[in-house]
Symmetry: C2
Subunit: 350 residues, 2 copies
Amino acid sequence: MSLLEEKSQNTTPISQLGEFGLIDHLTKNNKLKNENTIKGVGDDAAVIDIGDKYQLVSTDLLVEGVHFDLGYMPLKHLGYKSVAVNVSDICAMNGDAKQITVGLAMSNRFTVEALDELYAGIYLACEHYGVDLVGGDTTSSTVGLMISVTVLGEVEKENVVYRSGAKINDLVICTGDLGAAYLGLQLLNREKEMFKENPTMQPDLTGNDYVLQRQLKPEAGVKYIKILKDLDIIPTSMIDISDGLSSEVLHLSKSSKVGITIHEDKIPVDYTTMNLANEFNMNPITCALSGGEDYELLFTISQVHYDKFKKDADFTIVGYVTDASEGNNFIAKDGTSHPLTAQGWDALKK
Amino acid sequence: MSLLEEKSQNTTPISQLGEFGLIDHLTKNNKLKNENTIKGVGDDAAVIDIGDKYQLVSTDLLVEGVHFDLGYMPLKHLGYKSVAVNVSDICAMNGDAKQITVGLAMSNRFTVEALDELYAGIYLACEHYGVDLVGGDTTSSTVGLMISVTVLGEVEKENVVYRSGAKINDLVICTGDLGAAYLGLQLLNREKEMFKENPTMQPDLTGNDYVLQRQLKPEAGVKYIKILKDLDIIPTSMIDISDGLSSEVLHLSKSSKVGITIHEDKIPVDYTTMNLANEFNMNPITCALSGGEDYELLFTISQVHYDKFKKDADFTIVGYVTDASEGNNFIAKDGTSHPLTAQGWDALKK
């Protein structure tokens, strides 16, 4: 037994693979042994057969300095967000979230009162989403705060939606609007920098409540899942938009072995987002494509349902599914077509 | 909305409460809403009704610099241990582990090859315990490595064992032996310090394989669960020994509203552990009571089963259950009785 860790001669930086490349690499030889494991790594949640229903399981980490900055993220909001982003993964499988466990590692700069704030947000989200906090682990860290949430959900077996079921000619639909969370983050970063330069300054965030809320207190798309249920529509594929529209389109098309074409002029962007993007000299469509953290849902449905979605403000038809040979394309407002590439947020490529 | 986090006037250090005090504090107003949530926070795993069976869910974090030191913990062992300690929680509920999710946060000093080593250990443990890796999250951290594992298990409803069922006059039984993992850690720390002083020195770990293995590659007590099943015995209460015998005795007695008396001369300690304790001028019984990380099982059974355990090397009767009014007591070899207090390992009190 070697006492000291042997240093490997081979040193491939993780940034070379990025998050999804790394996950593919680490799980390429993963074998599933239990017959009740229906779906392992590779979707928004794992799927386990529990008899009458499928259970959905997903884990998300939030790391200080990577996913949040306590300089402007109130702890109560952080607690809420850590639950909401996990519930979002259950929505993406067309399921209902039921339970969470919370793992917490924090340095000794955090007080009991600070954790009370964090948990106030966690409990608020549990109440809002009808989820039970059933367990977890609480420990110290050498530096910073790290929150690991695992969510358990349920779905009727016949209603589960994977990333892999999109069919040629399906409509591609996006809920809500995109890009706001990313611009909220830009705004908070700008105010933080200004505050550093002049600590007596009061931040002026007037008129930007919407983008700030989208960044600080995102909601999972449970209301959209309910609407789909009421309409008796089961999407052919679905994913939540956590890393930007481009990245999620590529996940759906890769898993479904199809191509997807989306239209710039269809991408839903709120007017506040639009105005703020202009103020930052950013293209709002770029924010929607690559910004991340919107936690909207992206799904595909058969064209027979077109009438039900053509005028609904909650749902926007942003494109359609093609044969895989056509690839993934972005049709700009001027009619030109461009291959769609992922430039979404990737914690491992920063 | 306040842009910058408001500093609270009240600052109670977390160390004042410790891990279990903090968990009690943070969950005292936790309300369970879903009828399929049978047991939330407060046992080795949460219990969820999935129809025919109960599902068991537990989350454990391992944080670099708190739970492990990569100076002597090979990454493959760390991967194995991170799964084993979670499977141990499922054993403590008398269940079978089935699936895990792994959340990983690591700084950019980790290479793809390092993660391959870590995952080799994770997969080895999955193979050994018949567990499927079904999901997780992989992200960067500003410093260090953090592993969050959530394990899902199953148990027949009539076989689930809580911490809360111990009855007066029950026997208290401990599996395997105690104190070795703690002494393994002392040995590794000593060799590390000597290596720092003289880097050309080769560590001499001869004869200490057992304690090193107990620290670096602990096993969950699945074999004991199988023996109990074969004997058709369901313990009245059970817990895994992760923080030292004292701490776990106090958990069982508190949850079961009883007292527990244990006898010094019954506590199982391996002869290697004994020898090494002498070398370190430590009391081996103190290592067993307060050392932690042994991942043995501590359980209570009715006295009618006495004959089945009185001569089994795998199981040691260490004490018995009394009325709560008698408290928790430690009977020393000289016959004197001492109140049992928890001085086990607590990451939040270090």
